[in-house]
Amino acid sequence: MIELLTPNEFEALLLSLKISLTATLLSLPLGIMSGWLLAKFDFPGKGSLESLLHLPLVLPPVVTGYGLLVLFGPNGPFKELFNALGLELGFNWKGAVIASMVVSFPLMVNAIRLAFEAVDEKLEEVAKVFGFPPWKVFFSVSLPLAWTGLITGSMLAFARSLGEFGATITFVSSIPGETQTIPLALYGQLQVPGGEASALKLCILSLLLALTALWFTRKLRKETIR
């Protein structure tokens, strides 16, 4: 299999995997928190939070990418923060992770939110009665009962990250070995007359990754033991 791939394609594969996985895992804690907040609480500004979360879904990816460029670029408002952290996002894979996270976040949050909404409050009450402090109620009751939502949400985010193109290429460009994921490489191949063969190969790679993710998701779903 590997021999069938050019080094460039192989690099793109690894990069896609690395970026999508990192993005999904990094989003997860925040996604869980937001999904939970939206599902269980009414608070002032809930509407605004909801809107903000859905922004990247509604805006064309180019705009999202442009927004990221303005926000996280060297003249952006977070400049000092990132400098202090020693984090540089421009033109590297970390930037691609950010782009993927932003773009796939709404999908993750909505799945998780739906799952939390379906958790029976009466079961959470039981845990409270038996002395579980709120954090323990959350981790031992709410979260496990929202399991399918977590899985679905992560799968959606991972798949969306794998397919992420517009925001990434706008934010961190398409540098082979650094930010050129499968979709970007694929796009490049489509721009060259006669690049279809390689494009098809990359397409199939994407699909294989996605199938693996789906297979994995099915396994994990089965673990749900209601």
């Binding site: 009466k122 039981v126 038996f130 002395g131 579980f132």
Partner: protein, 229 residues
């Protein structure tokens, strides 16, 4: 010691609870369906916030609208047998009983008296109605709470099992030195268990004299019973 003065409007029902339980032992609460018994349990547990009033337990103020105090449920040190079993579906029966605690005193005893030895490794989904209720009862018995509340804990058990459990429950207050609030419709259970007996009707609690315990409030029962037997 529990003393309370709590008000809560529930749809058309105005709960107005005013009681002091000084004696240890079992306080039985009866009353027609919809009179507010389960709601009373929830109010004491802090699962429902009263509209006004106060609630003291063992010298602590658990709730007071005047003082703006409202101790969170998980700090009230309770155990409840809910009217529905409310088992956690993702845990085995065993974990539901221990609620994740490592050591449970007289765990084997409790399991034995409830007859649930064979169920320990099952998931709640595969339990029968009575089995689930027994596990829910066991869960409460495994705790060492400062107050134990039971909402018709024996309703769906067979009579044999009930007869076995009643003496066990009756012995609990002395054994662990805790008060029990016991909600039931059954005259039999009430007569056997009650140290104090309250009757709840249309949201109002009335203490019943000890002497009324052996007779029954509703002559109609006797009438029918005589017909049946």
């Amino acid at each position: 010691m529990i003393s309370a003065n709590l008000q809560k409007a529930l749809g058309p029902l105005n709960l107005d609870l005013n009681f002091t339980i000084t004696a240890p032992g079992i306080t039985v609460i009866s009353g027609p369906s919809g009179s507010g018994k389960s709601s009373l349990v929830k109010l004491i547990a802090g699962l429902n916030t009263p509209d006004s009033g106060w609630l003291n337990f063992g010298g602590k103020t658990l709730y007071s609208s005047a003082l703006n105090t409202d101790i969170a449920t998980h700090q009230r040190r309770l155990a409840i047998v809910f009217q529905e079993a409310r088992l956690l579906p993702h845990w085995t029966v065993k974990k539901n009983l221990t609620m994740g605690q490592k050591k449970i005193e007289s765990f084997d005893k409790i399991v034995a008296v409830l007859g649930i030895e064979a169920l320990l490794s099952r998931k709640p989904k595969h339990l029968s109605g009575g089995e689930a209720q027994r596990v829910a009862l066991g869960r409460a018995l495994c705790q060492k709470p400062e107050l134990l509340m039971m909402d018709e804990p024996l309703a769906s058990l067979d009579e044999e099992r009930k007869e076995e459990l009643l003496p066990y429950i009756k012995a609990l207050p002395k054994k662990f030195n805790i008060p029990i609030l016991y909600v039931t419709h059954s005259t039999k259970e009430r007569n056997y268990l009650a140290d104090t007996y309250y009757f709840l009707e249309k949201g109002k609690l009335t203490m019943q004299e000890k002497s009324t315990l052996t007779s029954t409030k509703h002559p109609q029962h006797l009438q029918l019973l005589s017909k049946v037997r």
